[in-house]
C-alpha cells in the first residue's frame, strides 16, 4: 500500500473522494477495502452507502464538494449506470468533479467509458497502489479546476 503523506501541515486540504456503487449492487466488500486504502493514503473518504441512485450520488458529491466520484459495479451494468452519472453531471454543468470507475469491466467496454470521461476502470487483482495513484492524479486535476488553475 502506498505510504500516506501527512497533509495536515500543508496548505491545501486533502483530496476528498466519494465512493459509490450506484444502482442495484449490494456487494460492497471491495469498496470498503478501497475506502480504507484511500484513507490510509491521506484522503478524506465518503461512502454513499448501499443502493444509491445516480441522482443521489451526485447530490452527495455536490453537497460534500468532493474532487472524485469513484464508482464500482460488479453487476455488469456499468455502461448504463456509470453513463447515467456522467450524463447527469453534464446536464447539471458539473465539470470539476472527476469520475473514476472500477469493478468487473470487460476490456472491450473500457474505451466507451473513457469516452465518457470515466477513467481507471480497474478490475479485480489491481494493486491498491495503482488505484490510489490514479485517483490522486484525477483528484489533483479536479482540484486545479476548482481553483481555476487548469
Amino acid at each position: 500500500m502506498a505510504a500516506g503523506k501527512n497533509q495536515s501541515s500543508s496548505k491545501q486540504r486533502p483530496p476528498k473522494i466519494l465512493l459509490a456503487k450506484p444502482g442495484i449492487d449490494g456487494h460492497d466488500r471491495g469498496v470498503l477495502v478501497l475506502a480504507r486504502a484511500f484513507r490510509d493514503a491521506g484522503m478524506e473518504v465518503l461512502y454513499a452507502g448501499l443502493l444509491p441512485t445516480p441522482e443521489e450520488v451526485i447530490d452527495t458529491a455536490v453537497n460534500e464538494d468532493v474532487d472524485v466520484i469513484a464508482m464500482s459495479l460488479l453487476n455488469g451494468a456499468h455502461l448504463t449506470v456509470f453513463k447515467r452519472v456522467a450524463d447527469l453531471m453534464k446536464e447539471r454543468g458539473i465539470d470539476d468533479i472527476a469520475l473514476v470507475g472500477g469493478g468487473t469491466i470487460p476490456e472491450e467496454d473500457k474505451p466507451a467509458l473513457e469516452a465518457l470521461g470515466i477513467t481507471g476502470n480497474y478490475g479485480p487483482g489491481t494493486p491498491l497502489s495503482t488505484i490510489i495513484e490514479h485517483v490522486q492524479k484525477r483528484a489533483a486535476e479536479a482540484r486545479a479546476k476548482k481553483l481555476g488553475q487548469d
Partner: protein, 337 residues
C-alpha cells in the same frame, strides 16, 4: 513589494474563485446547496486570505441561527438521532442544516467520513443540507472550519444548525464555545462510562438524551441522570432528560421541544450566539497573528539557522527560550519604529 500587493498577487492564483465569489455569496443567501458546499470548501482550505474574503462578503446574518451541538461517546447513535431530529424539525417547518465532524488520522491526514450513511436517507427526504468535515487533528472534537461553516449556513437562512462532534467524552469541550445548546447523548448500559465523563462534558450539557430507549435498563439510566441533574443549583435552566429510540419517531418530539425551549431561554437572556461571536473573533485574531507574526518569525528563525548569523546574545546552544525571546523582542521593536 508592499504587503497589499503581495496579497493581491497571492489572490490572483485563485482566479476562477475570485471572479465567482460574488455569485457564490448570493447563491449561499438563496440557500443553493451547490453554492453553500463550495463556500464551505473555501473556508476549509487553510488559506486565511480566502477564508477572510468569503466570510466578509457573507457579512452579518439577517437572522441569528441557533447552533445545537450533539455530543456523546462513539457508537451511541448520534448520527441516527440527528437524522431523525433534523427531519422532525423540517416537518414542523423549522429549516435546519447538519454539520458532522469526523476524526482525521494523525499519521496520514486521511479520514473516513462515515456519519452521513446513518442519516442520509432521512435528510434527503426532508431536503436538508448536510456536510461532513474532517477535524484535521484539531483537539476538542471541533474542526476549525466549523466556525466558518456555521456562518455560511446561518447566512443561508437556517434557523437551526445541528453539529455532530467527533465521538468523544470528557475532553470534548470545545463545542461549548460554538454551540448555543449542547445535547449529550447517552445510552443504557453505560454505567461506568457516565462516571468517566461526569466531570467534563456532563457539566456543560444543557439537555441529556438517553438514546436506545428500547433497550433494557433504559429507565434506570434516565433515573441516574435525573439524580445528577436534580443537584444542579447554578442556573435557572432546569436541564431536561429525554429518552429517544429510532424505533419510534414520536420519541424525538420531546427532544425537539427541549431544544426549542432552551433557545427561548437563551433569547430571553440575550445570550444567543454570544459565545460563538467571541470564538469567531478569537479565530480571526489567531489567523491575523499567524499571518502577520508567526509566519514571519519562523522565516526569521530559519534565516538565522541557515545563514549562520548569530543573534546578539546567542545562547542557542544552551537554551532555545532565549533565542525565541530575542526574536520576538526584535520583531516587536522593529514594528514599533
Amino acid at each position: 513589494m508592499s504587503k497589499k500587493e503581495l496579497q493581491r498577487q497571492e489572490r490572483r492564483s485563485w482566479g476562477r474563485i475570485e471572479t465567482n465569489i460574488n455569485e457564490l455569496v448570493s447563491g449561499v443567501k438563496e440557500n443553493k446547496f451547490s453554492s453553500i458546499a463550495r463556500a464551505i470548501s473555501m473556508v476549509e482550505d487553510e488559506d486565511p486570505l480566502l477564508r477572510k474574503d468569503i466570510l466578509r462578503k457573507i457579512g452579518a446574518p439577517t437572522k441569528k441561527a441557533h447552533v445545537v451541538g450533539i455530543t456523546g461517546p462513539p457508537g451511541i447513535g448520534k448520527s441516527t438521532l440527528i437524522g431523525n431530529l433534523s427531519s422532525g424539525m423540517m416537518t414542523r417547518g423549522i429549516r435546519n442544516a447538519v454539520l458532522a465532524i469526523d476524526a482525521s488520522s494523525p499519521f496520514t491526514g486521511g479520514s473516513l467520513l462515515g456519519n452521513r450513511i446513518r442519516m442520509q436517507d432521512k435528510l434527503r427526504d426532508s431536503h436538508v443540507f448536510m456536510r461532513s468535515l474532517a477535524n484535521r487533528g484539531e483537539k476538542g472534537g471541533l474542526s476549525r472550519s466549523a466556525i466558518g461553516a456555521v456562518r455560511i449556513l446561518e447566512a443561508a437562512g437556517n434557523q437551526e444548525i445541528i453539529i455532530e462532534t467527533v465521538g468523544a467524552g470528557q475532553a470534548d469541550l470545545d463545542i461549548m464555545n460554538l454551540a448555543d445548546t449542547i445535547v449529550l447523548v447517552l445510552a443504557p448500559g453505560l454505567g461506568d462510562e457516565i462516571q468517566a465523563i461526569k466531570a467534563g462534558i456532563m457539566e456543560i450539557s444543557h439537555i441529556f438524551v438517553i438514546n436506545k430507549m428500547d433497550r433494557e435498563g433504559a429507565y434506570f439510566a434516565m433515573k441516574d441522570i435525573e439524580d445528577i441533574v436534580s443537584m444542579d443549583d447554578h442556573s435557572d435552566w432546569k436541564r431536561p432528560v429525554v429518552g429517544t429510540t429510532s424505533k419510534d419517531n414520536e420519541s424525538y418530539n420531546s427532544l425537539i421541544e427541549a431544544i426549542l425551549s432552551h433557545r427561548k431561554y437563551l433569547e430571553m437572556n440575550n445570550s444567543l450566539s454570544v459565545k460563538r461571536k467571541f470564538m469567531e473573533m478569537e479565530t480571526a485574531l489567531e489567523d491575523e497573528i499567524n499571518e502577520n507574526i508567526t509566519s514571519k518569525l519562523k522565516k526569521k528563525l530559519i534565516e538565522v539557522q541557515t545563514s549562520g548569523n548569530k543573534l546578539s546574545n546567542d545562547k542557542s546552544d544552551e537554551d532555545p527560550f532565549s533565542v525565541a525571546e530575542e526574536l520576538l523582542k526584535n520583531f516587536l521593536e522593529y514594528s514599533v519604529e
